[in-house]
């Protein structure tokens, strides 16, 4: 498969989803792809003062938005968590849209 499959846990959602993103995608692009598929579908739309941050499942720290999948060392079907964060406190946060 030319695209890269990720297992995504989006804050507030009832279950995990599979996202297909480009192999050189950044965390910001991954978050944007997830938000387009899930915000306003299973969880509320993103608020004006909210940004999305990505981290590996079970990790405490968020990954930098400009970090690519390769740089993060992700394998196919890596599980990630995408959380809403207040824009003011989220350094380099990625807007979902």
């Amino acid at each position: 498969m030319s695209q890269f499959p990720l297992v995504c846990s989006f804050e507030g959602d009832y279950g995990l989803k599979v996202l297909f993103v480009s192999r050189d995608a950044t965390m910001a692009e991954v978050a944007r792809t997830a938000a387009e598929a899930l915000a306003g579908v299973v969880v509320p739309e993103l608020g004006a003062n909210e940004v999305l941050r990505v981290r590996q499942a079970g990790a405490k720290n968020f990954l930098r938005p400009e970090l690519t999948l390769q740089e993060a060392g992700f394998i196919e079907m890596e599980t990630i968590e995408i959380l809403r964060q207040p824009a003011a406190t989220a350094v380099n946060g990625a807007r979902a849209s």
């Binding site: 009832y14 279950g15 989803k17 599979v18 598929a37 306003g40 499942a57 079907m77 599980t79």
Partner: protein, 504 residues
């Protein structure tokens, strides 16, 4: 001619063991098909079934059961129950017949293997009746399902399901192939006749039958009752077998078989029966909540049996009790959202009165599962129907095969238990699902869920409906045609004769 009483000849007549001379005992009863533990023959010959049934008695009883069920069906044939039924009840019937009929059919061969490979004569006798029972269950399921075929193509799945690659069917096959069809006769009997039939068939055939009678679907209710009377007899195979295993020093092995099978069956029944009881059954016809049924019909009875036999409750019991409150609610959301991938037409069943009932039965439902339904309802109410079907795929658990879910909303808690093996990452919903995999990885490692098949390129995304054998007209739609946010549920809830208006 004076007849002997049954108890005067039964034990001798069914003592059909002999000493083989042309082949060895091991060739006649290969351990991988008979008994992988090596229980001594003398112990197996001590198998004493609680129900002692002669063939003559069996045939007479079964004939009476069939006459009762088919007579009720014939009497109600012109009632137009299905045409006038609540959309939720229609969904329940569509789901049940597609999901259950092939399991009955497959169980014929599961019992036949016990008949051939068990070394206990009494067990062979009981398993022979079991095969005949499952034949009857298959026939009655297909006959009753096909009554509705002229009204809905969904009922074709009663016959078609096992030859499809539908994701729900894959999940069922994975579970029941594991416990019924790919183990030695002793293991299969414990997993099927004890863990499955003692614990869970009550749920589908007694509890659901009660809901059906409350709803007024006496044809369906009677069909379920006649099946359950056989399931209760099957359950009796497991108990003496478990006692033999424990007495022969295989308590830990027996416990593990029960623990694996109980959890696997729990996931199937929670997803399928749980949704039917707490959502598809019209509110005014619900006898109890799924959780209440679980406590009365599964937990209390199962625990009594377990302790009576000398086993312990499964090690994951606390996790199981927590799961009763959440799993089927999450699955119901996914079943509704991904409805196009199912052969039935799901209803949301989350209007104001239903939400109130759910909150009463499951405190906290509103701030968790209800939050997802808020978003879906807003989209429905605004006419954004395309937003009620996610554009991305759901992740499926590599053990139970349903969506990998957790708790949404304010108490968001969705965990992924992963395991890396031979270059592949496996994903499990719970520590129990992962534990089952770890007990025998080579048994499970090669299986691919539908999502795995897409990710690995076995099937391309644009061909996935063809791969699942789902023609466009077979794909599920909103059973209430999106009217559930505007008005109370349509159809004839509480009135099977359709004296109220039909939802169409």
């Amino acid at each position: 001619m004076p007849l002997l009483k049954t108890e005067e000849w039964y034990d001798i007549a069914r003592d059909t063991n002999w000493t083989p001379r042309y082949v060895t005992e091991q060739q006649l009863f290969p351990p991988e098909l008979t008994d992988r533990f090596g229980v001594p023959l003398a112990a197996m010959e001590g198998f004493d079934e609680p129900y002692k049934v002669t063939y003559r008695e069996y045939v007479r009883t079964q004939r009476e059961k069939d006459m009762g069920a088919y007579s009720v069906k014939a009497a109600l044939a012109r009632s137009k129950l299905y045409e006038n039924a609540d959309p939720g009840w229609r969904a329940l019937l569509q789901l049940h017949f597609g999901a259950a009929s092939f399991l009955e059919y497959n169980s014929i061969s599961a019992f036949a293997r016990m008949t051939r490979f068990s070394r206990a004569p009494g067990m062979r006798n009981m398993a022979t009746f079991g095969s005949l029972d499952e034949t009857r269950h298959s026939q009655i399921h297909l006959y009753f399902a096909y009554e509705h075929l002229i009204r809905s193509r969904s009922f074709d799945w009663a016959h078609k399901a096992p030859r499809s690659n539908n994701w729900v069917i894959i999940s069922e096959r994975h579970t029941f192939d594991d416990i019924e069809h790919t183990r030695d006769a002793v293991s299969a009997a414990i997993m099927t006749n004890f863990a499955f039939e003692t614990a869970f068939t009550n749920l589908q055939f007694v509890a659901l039958s009660a809901d059906a009678a409350n709803y007024g679907d006496f044809s369906f209710s009677t069909m379920l009752q006649t099946i359950q009377s056989d399931e209760a007899r099957h359950a009796q195979i497991g108990e003496p077998l478990l006692r033999i295993l424990i007495d022969s020093g295989f308590k830990a092995e027996a416990q593990k078989l029960v623990d694996i099978s109980f959890w696997r069956c729990w996931k199937q029944f929670s997803a399928l029966s749980g949704i039917c009881m707490d959502y598809y059954t019209p509110l005014e016809n619900r006898e109890y909540s799924f959780k209440e049924f679980m406590h009365e019909w599964v937990i209390d009875q199962f625990m009594t049996k377990i302790f009576d036999i000398g086993l312990e409750k499964p090690w994951y019991w606390d996790l199981f009790l927590e799961d009763i409150d959440v799993f089927h609610h999450a699955q119901h959301i996914g079943v509704y959202l991904y409805r196009a991938t199912e052969w039935w037409h799901p209803v949301a069943a989350t209007g104001p009165a239903e939400r109130e009932w759910l909150e009463t039965k499951y405190p906290g439902w509103g701030v968790t599962f209800g939050k997802v339904w808020d978003v879906i309802a807003q989209n429905v109410a605004s006419g954004r129907h395309e937003r009620t079907q996610p554009s991305c795929l759901p992740m499926l658990c590599n053990m139970h095969g349903f969506e990998l879910t957790g708790v949404p909303g304010a108490k968001w808690n969705v965990k992924d238990y992963t395991l890396d093996r031979a270059g592949r990452r496996y994903h499990f919903q719970s520590s129990v699902d992962k534990w089952i995999f770890e007990q025998e990885p080579e048994r499970y490692a090669g299986h691919l869920s539908l999502i795995d098949r897409v990710v690995q390129g076995v099937v391309s995304l644009d061909k996935v409906f063809d791969y699942m054998h789902m023609a466009p007209e077979e794909r599920g739609t909103d059973g209430q045609q999106y009217r559930w946010t505007q008005e109370p549920r349509g159809g004839s809830a509480g009135d099977p004769l359709g004296r109220r208006r039909s939802a169409g």
